[in-house]
């Protein structure tokens, strides 16, 4: 509305302004309203100035259309959900997770395999959020991708969408897992047939026992499941024919893949079962061999809790006997009920180790921590002797390291080499048999970082002229030989 330097021919006022009528530029007098001059009504595209600031695509596009990969990814999500026969809730959840993740900046410039894996990760996350049991291995094999890539993308999705990834309940997985085993008449001899339900219930009990005795924590769940199914199958009908069949042959017969660590898990489970089997009253303390333990599995599982109690008590008695014979004048009379494990002091309801979200409540935290008395004070005392005070910038640990219990204080000589794992009957296997040497702090030279460096120290790292010549000659020879 700038005033142009013109005079209105009608009234003579100089108050003439530009006032366009739609696309026709006009000069109009504000006093009398007459049109002083006007431009062309129709103009070419290049002459049109108005309406060119906003891009065409921006003004006409209503919604952003998903790109081709996103559409493919959504189709893949739907296909996975149909294959796994997931309920519609999970399908919708997975689709929305995929859309959110795909459109976030973290997945903007990501490689195509990762985008393909993203579909599977969203399905897995959707299943976990709704409590549907699916293992990562299943989804990995369906996508035919690498398990490392799957793990990476899964963690990226969880952190991008800021969600919590609930753990899969292994007991839910168990039933589905047992149905995969082909142990019914047509393909398998009568002797080896077993119903999936019986197998599932026995294997679940074995998995619970494994989790109670620290065989599950930190381990991949699938090998433990395979091991427990195998042992369950052996124990349901411990005939010589069955006992002869190894894990590998069993899995081959049942048409199931053998995961690598499964045989180790079988050994560990058998060891635990032997130890518990030994406590059965009718065994009268006789040692049970792993070959013969299958027959006792049913009884062991039935009386699991009391057998665990007895095993712990007898282990403590054995330790007490050792300490009495080892050091004299020691009052070790009190290996009392106070050293019983927490969960076994409850009202007899089957307590489960927390390493699996099996569904029963974890050990009550209200009870005092009895096993404090058995904390590895010898270890602490051993450390105390090694303790060294470094420079002024270091501060000293409040590491007097002395025992919590009066009687443990009286066992100084016994302990520094003994690992705390030996004091408990059921610990993670690597803690029980620490085959590696305990990691000791290497007391290197006391350095400040600013010391003088003498020439002699450096000369060792430089070649002499003779060596250099020889090296160069050898290199040339090697090169000429290769040509």
């Amino acid at each position: 509305m700038m005033g142009s330097g013109r005079k209105c021919p009608d009234c003579g006022s100089s108050n003439v302004v530009e006032d366009d009528l739609y696309s026709q530029p006009q000069l109009v007098c504000t006093d009398c309203g007459s049109v002083v001059s006007e431009g062309q009504l129709t103009t070419t595209r290049s002459e049109e100035v108005q309406g060119t600031i906003v891009r065409y695509s921006q003004s006409t596009a209503v919604d952003k259309q998903p790109c081709r990969n996103q559409i493919k990814g959504l189709k893949r999500v739907r296909a996975l959900c149909r294959i796994l026969r997931l309920p519609p809730v999970i399908e919708e959840t997975s689709e929305s997770l995929f859309a959110q993740a795909y459109e976030s900046t973290d997945f903007l410039h990501v490689s195509l395999p990762k985008k393909e894996t993203l579909a599977g990760c969203c399905v897995l996350l959707g299943c976990r959020m709704q409590g549907w049991p699916v293992t990562m291995g299943t989804v990995t094999s369906l996508l035919d991708t690498d398990s490392c890539l799957m793990g990476t993308v899964y963690k990226m999705v969880v952190s991008t969408l800021k969600l919590e990834s609930p753990h899969t309940n292994i007991m839910d997985l168990m039933e589905g897992h047992c149905r995969e085993y082909h142990l019914s008449p047509p393909g398998v001899p009568e002797e080896f047939c077993e119903s999936a339900d019986r197998l599932a219930s026995r294997a679940s009990a074995l998995v619970e026992l494994a989790s109670d005795t620290w065989l599950m924590t930190g381990r991949h769940p699938v090998p433990v499941m395979v091991a427990s199914v195998y042992l369950a199958w052996l124990s349901l009908k411990p005939s010589p024919a069955r006992l002869k069949l190894s894990l590998g042959r069993f899995c081959q017969m049942a048409k199931v893949a053998v995961p690598g660590p499964a045989s180790k898990r079988v050994t560990e489970l058998k060891e635990v079962l032997c130890r518990l089997g030994q406590e059965l009253p009718w065994q009268k303390g006789a040692v049970v061999s792993p070959q013969k333990v299958a027959a006792l599995v049913g009884d062991v599982l039935k009386h699991r809790i009391s057998l665990l109690k007895r095993a712990i008590r007898s282990h403590e008695d054995a330790l007490a006997m050792d300490s009495v014979s080892g050091t004299e004048g020691l009052d070790v009379a009190n290996t009392p009920s106070s050293t019983l494990p927490l969960s076994l002091c409850t009202d007899g309801v089957a307590p489960i180790c927390e390493d699996l979200p099996i569904g029963s409540s974890p050990c009550s935290e209200g009870q005092p921590d009895f096993h404090q008395s058995q904390l590895p004070t010898p270890h602490a005392e051993g450390c105390q002797t090694v303790q060294s005070v470094r420079d002024s910038e270091d501060v000293v640990v409040t590491a007097t390291g002395s025992a919590k219990n009066p009687e443990a204080r009286g066992e100084p000589a016994r302990g520094s080499a003994e690992h705390w794992g030996k004091r408990h009957p059921f610990v993670p296997p690597c803690a029980r048999n620490p085959s590696k040497k305990p990691r000791l702090a290497e007391t290197g030279p006391e350095v400040t970082g600013d010391e003088e460096i003498s020439d002699s120290e450096i000369e060792g790292y430089l070649r002499t002229p003779l060596e250099m010549r020889e090296f160069a000659e050898t290199q040339m020879k090697l090169q000429s030989d290769s040509y």
Binding site: A399, A431, A441, D450
Partner: protein, 208 residues
């Protein structure tokens, strides 16, 4: 190299976690934090001819496909990756001081080889330490108590990982009680151990 680190406040906070019935005098626990690796970088502010270093230096491995030279020092035991731009990364030291000494030795070595080296911009970028708790740990309870900072996927990795944002440290917790801590320097690593000890103590298991 073992460091002894403390804070009376940490000790006090640990004390308050324990039930009074078990609080006796002198029931302290020593924790050895063993530093296994210190990674540091520095710049020489001059171009380095990698072929010359490969020819005239001993204990060197030349990798032309990557464009770097690996040089190993004996004392302190350090491996250095040397790039022609003059940027050098040293790994393998067991303390910050050792890392500095090793880096200076290396710079001196390069000086002897004829380069106009200046030892500048030395910085410790990563410290890896291990520590063992005298108890084993319920990983699932630990994860539940510390969501969403802690994450545990047994199908992927046997340890639960806990990221401390303000210290930029990551702690990996194993069920056997061992933890590995990575952080930008030793002080942060020590603080991370102090911070995580009470959380681990809550989830400890001494049963079975």
């Amino acid at each position: 190299m073992k460091i002894d680190c403390v804070c009376t406040s940490w000790y006090a906070s640990v004390r308050t976690l324990r039930p009074d019935s078990l609080m006796e005098a002198n029931n302290d626990v020593a924790l050895d934090i063993i530093i296994t690796n210190v990674v540091s970088v520095f710049r020489t502010r001059c171009h380095l001819n990698l072929r010359t270093i490969a020819l005239e230096g001993s204990n060197v491995i030349y990798k032309p496909e990557v464009g770097k030279v690996l040089m190993k020092l004996r004392k302190p035991r350090i491996t250095a990756s040397i790039w022609s731009s003059g940027k050098i990364i040293c790994t393998g030291a067991t303390s910050e001081e050792e890392a500095k000494l090793g880096a200076r030795r290396l710079a001196r070595c390069l000086q002897k080889l004829g380069f106009k080296v200046k030892f500048t911009a030395f910085k410790v970028v990563n410290v890896l330490a291990v520590c063992t708790m005298p108890f084993h740990i319920h990983l699932i309870q630990f994860t539940k108590n510390n969501r969403p900072i802690a994450s545990y996927e047994p199908e992927l990795h046997p340890a639960a990982s806990y990221r401390i944002k303000n210290l930029k440290a990551t702690v990996q917790v194993f069920s056997t009680g061992s933890i590995t801590v990575t952080g930008p320097n030793v002080r942060h690593v020590a603080m991370a151990v102090e911070q995580i000890y009470p959380l681990l103590f809550e989830c400890k298991s001494t049963m079975r």
